[in-house]
């Protein structure tokens, strides 16, 4: 049997960690959570998740941006898809495309709080597939994903 897909959620709001991980677990994912940047980095390094859900406006010693930078500058971790999440995206004019200037700040997708869960699930699926292709674990042929042995 295949390993379940592992998602790490990093957010300083513990209620959010609980509701989001309940949601993802019930949709078949294994979840791990960290309520602080440094813990997030440690957990990511230890667990090598398939995807990271990251609060970018987190106020801890390590912010969401620091976590993103750590992941993107670590050759072993840099291809892990990251979904950035914030309640301030609109106010700050944060958009995914604007994050490209600095490589290590690059997230693959951005969701504003409250997260539209109907849109989140298909996007997670897409990013996971892309992640598999990047890792060389799968190929896409004619729009379909095939595992590579």
């Amino acid at each position: 049997m295949e390993d379940p897909v592992k998602i790490i959620i990093v957010d300083d709001n513990t209620d959010y960690l609980f509701t989001m991980s309940t949601f993802l677990k019930r949709n078949g994912y294994e979840t791990l959570t960290a309520e602080e940047g440094q813990k997030g980095i440690d957990l990511i390094e230890k667990e090598r998740p398939d995807l990271i859900l990251l609060d970018v406006m987190m106020e801890s010693t390590y912010t969401g941006l620091d976590v993103c930078k750590k992941v993107r500058t670590n050759p072993d971790l840099k291809d892990i898809p990251i979904i950035g999440i914030s309640g301030m995206a609109d106010e700050l004019g944060v958009q995914v495309e604007k994050w490209g200037d600095e490589d290590y700040f690059k997230v693959d997708e951005f969701f504003d709080k409250p997260v539209d869960k109907e849109k989140l699930l298909p996007r997670i699926k897409e990013l996971l597939e892309e992640g598999l292709i990047k890792k060389g674990k799968a190929v896409r042929i004619g729009g379909k994903l095939y595992p590579k042995k």
Partner: protein, 361 residues
Amino acid sequence: MEPQEGLTGRPDNSGIIVDLGFRTILDLLPCYLSIQDRSLHIVFTNENFRKDFGEGIGNLCHMVYKGSSDICESCPVQKSFKDMKVHISEEDVELSSGKMAQLIVYSAPILDASGNVAAVIEMSTNITQVKEIQKELTFLGQSIAILSHDMKNILEGLQGGAYVVDEGIKDGDMELAGKGWDIVKRNIGEISTIAQNILYSSKKRDPKYQKVSPEEMVRDVVGLFEEKSSALGVKLKHRSNPALPVVNLDPTNIRRMLHNLVWNALEACKKDKEKHTHTVVVRSDFHDRFHFKFEVEDNGVGIDEDAQENIFKEFFSTKGSEGTGLGLLVVDKIVKAHGGWVEVLTAPGKGTTFRVILRIR
């Protein structure tokens, strides 16, 4: 027009005195008027100018307006000397009464017979009130931005909580449903705090003073937070100097102000994952002979340097996903309305003390 002194008027057709003499008209103009030479020495002033800035003639413009030996950075008079055009600038000045005022200043060149700039005439209007309204509007805009951020977080909490309740009910897992319901209730609590803060930040009202004991205020507010602090595992204490007299305060506003500071302190403790025990202390004590203070001290995360600068100036929220930046904004507003001020002592990683200093009256 012939230069004339004083009221030498004669009735016109409508019986109104029209010919006042140019000097009188200049004096009557509801603005400050002066003429300056190339070295920025004042050579002429109207009565309004003299009333608020003193005689002025023979003195340097920047000395008279600002008591400064330096020429103003955006001096419009110099510009008019240079390019013979009208220039506008906004300046902060000090009236001879000691009051500060904001002026909008217009300058225009006065040409001599050969077309050179002989002097510059300067006309300015006190726009302090307009500026205050502008500040209020900025404040409003900022409040709305903060509010929208808070609402989004609360919505996230409500939706997430409701989802967990649904899933719990679906599976007959009442423990799960209960957890979801707790989240829903917490977010309802947040809405009520925000709603109160909106009320306080939007209404412009003068404090309604009553004689109250600062100690009682402190005890009231600490009492309100007993449940929240014990849920967070934070020790919440209060210490008041019993010698403090009864003072004139707006108790509703001061309670709100303390409420926001204690709320922030508890949140700062909640965010701190380094220390094992957290304490919030609320104090009331003398500050000096004429002032007393409220202090809210926590050993939470502290505020980093960047945020310190912005904390009141820009009504900045440092709380990330759980921010109610409106809280400090309301604190600032209430304290200012009481004629007091706020001091912030903080060390990142160690904790923060907010000190509110008010006059004993």
